[in-house]
Amino acid sequence: MTSDAVTGEPATPAAATLDTFAYDNRSVRDFIIATVVWGLVGMLVGVLIALQLAWPAANFDLPWLSYGRIRPLHTNAVVFAFAGNAIFAGFYYSLQRLLKARMYSDVLSRINFWGWQLIILAAAITLPLGKTTSKEYAELEWPIKIAIAVVWVAFGINMIGTILKRRERHLYVAIWFYIATFLGITMLHVINGLAVPVSFLKSYPVYAGVQDALVEWWYGHNAVAFFLTTPFLGMMYYFLPKAAERPIYSYRLSIVHFWSLIFLYIWAGPHHLLNTALPEWAQTLGVVFSVMLIAPSWGGMINGLLTLRGAWDKVRTSAVLKFLVGAVTFYGMATFEGCLLALRDVNALSHDTDWTIGHVHSGALGWVGLLTFGIIYWMIPRLCRTTLWSEAMANLHFWIATIGICIYAVAMWIAGITEGSMQLAFDSNSHLVYRDWSEIVRATIPFFWVRLGAGLIYLAGMVLCAINVFQTICHGKPVQDETVQAPPLIRDTEYVAQIDAALSKSGWRDFSTSMHSLVERWPAVMILFAAGALAIGGLCEIVPNMIQGALSPKIASVTPYTPLELTGRDIYIREGCSNCHTQMIRTLRAETERYGGQYTRPGEGIYDRPFLWGSKRTGPDLGREGVLRPSAAWHYYHLQRPSSMSTVTVMPNYPWLISDDMDLSDIGTKLAVLAGMPMFTPYKAADIEQAESNARAQALVVANELRKEPRLKDDKDLEKKEIVAVIAYLQRLGTDLGKPSPATVSTAGH
């Protein structure tokens, strides 16, 4: 074909010759197998942490099995391993067929596949070891983050290369969603990942406090948008019409859907930070755009469902269609719920409760999960030149999964609304009704058990899927390279002439007509426009906040952490304490009442790298822990065995904090990094030089305080232990505001 194109004259009718080429089916099959394997692993870990929440002893007092460390393993495994491999499988399958071209480079396809699996493996090793940045959905430390960027760009080059050598001029709407996925994730990953390394697996983010929170949730929300929404919408636009054997209900609507979605999504991040120290204007902006998101979201859902007009009878028999219809329905429900949760007053109730967990799982199990299963059941028989091993088993899987999700969501709604109402409840004398956190935990535990059951049901469905996929592969004849024929794309000589014509035209209408055809037919221009739209949204939210952060008056009494407190803070991060404890007292009366009278000020977090606001209160907020619970001994006993200090608790024991010596070897480096570019934490040269001895001195103070306890007075090694650093950090939390200072409260935004 290449020689034809070179020697053949333009006059040669293109249809006369057909290119013979082959689709790469092997990569698709490999990604499907990886999806199934990691799905089993990720959901199994999910079931384990669900069990630990109901019954904390299920971590067997092993550090690497404790909830705080493996909760991020669960989220990373299901999002980046299960959904991630499903995305690649669906993209590689549909992209080649939509563009009538093999993937651009087999080498890049292999790099994409193996690179991604190695990254997941690295996550599965480092997260249980406590190597984490603590930033949700971006927990992996810097070397793995760089590897993700490299593999992701390899995927991007492979995709864009395929687009450039395509044999079909028109880019079907699914491909626009795919391009947005690549661009969006690249931008989010890089901006949120900016950090300065301290050692091989430890780094500090360049942003602090409120700024870090805004960047993280701008990332977190848009990771949902560009990793769990746009790629799956694109795949819906390919696989749903295919499975229904009907064209999409409205192609026009799908185009409107695409543009409005990527414009609106990027602005909605601040709805994760309502009623917090984030400036109010940014919160309001987040709410407004979140509510507007209902339009494109439901536009997409309606487009999907109406595609089945006249084909609903097929849903009765086809498992694939059941999964796809179920997925689209859950997409509609979850996006509606998302708008609801983004309202400031609803959020006051729902934030940091299990309602959020329920919402996430409606989206993840319902939309992403069901769509993934649907496309797997569609692709795997076609890749293996056979029929699905058991259609009945797939149908059973659908019902099991759907029932599991419904039980899960309902349990978490009840739990979340209960937790929220109990936290906010006042009696007629204006006192908190449930001041003791144990009462809230007691009310929630039954629903933790129900959730465990729901998770097990969903996992059972996943097992059925694995069996079905395995048997289909075994019974079929997998074709690694599927040979097909398609006419070549007419060479672009006339297209180049069109560009020249467009540039020389003077009439606006002619010009716009020609320019538009450029946009439509020239992927590079399309990509530029999409990138522009995404970047503007992000920059407008982050840049002014950065400037405002830099200009707003600081709180004079807020000082950097001491070396020992910093060590304790890093242990707090390692153990994933922020997975269950927030450090953000919201601007609500119930919160200030419960947590010592003062809500968290933006200026309090300027040395917090990373911010530790958290997003879930399984335990109480710790933002003022140093004020509310200054006793070192209380923390010692509580960390040793929480049930000795609380009547009802689901917090695991932390015996290793008592037995392990703290590592102060790189504390000087840590301080030096924080004091250097671009963070400029005001540590003096002497602070950095004497970091270790200062830490030891403070540790001795804490240890001596502990030794006042009769049970601990003979413990000779106390000051060497990790628990001393953690206690020093906990004792510091929230105390700065109360220190004497001329300018105690001077903050912006409230």
Binding site: T2, T20, P241, V479, D481, V519
Partner: protein, 66 residues
């Protein structure tokens, strides 16, 4: 709070651009044929069982085994 006004302005500007682009899209006639692309998707590639003659390898096509 003054930031909010700036933000509203920027937001409106972006929307103006988006709407302009969409109008451009519609006026240009590029979206007149919205029927063919969704239908084209439905056609399956007929499998090429026996490649004609001794395989003419596409430069991008690795030999396939069937």
């Amino acid at each position: 709070m003054s930031m909010l006004f700036l933000f509203t302005g920027i937001a409106l500007a972006i929307f103006a651009i988006a709407v302009a682009l969409l109008i451009l899209l519609i006026r240009s006639g590029q979206l007149d044929d919205l029927d063919t692309p969704p239908l084209r998707l439905l056609a399956d590639d007929p499998p090429v069982e026996a490649p004609p003659g001794p395989t003419r390898p596409d430069s991008r096509t690795p030999p396939h085994d069937q």
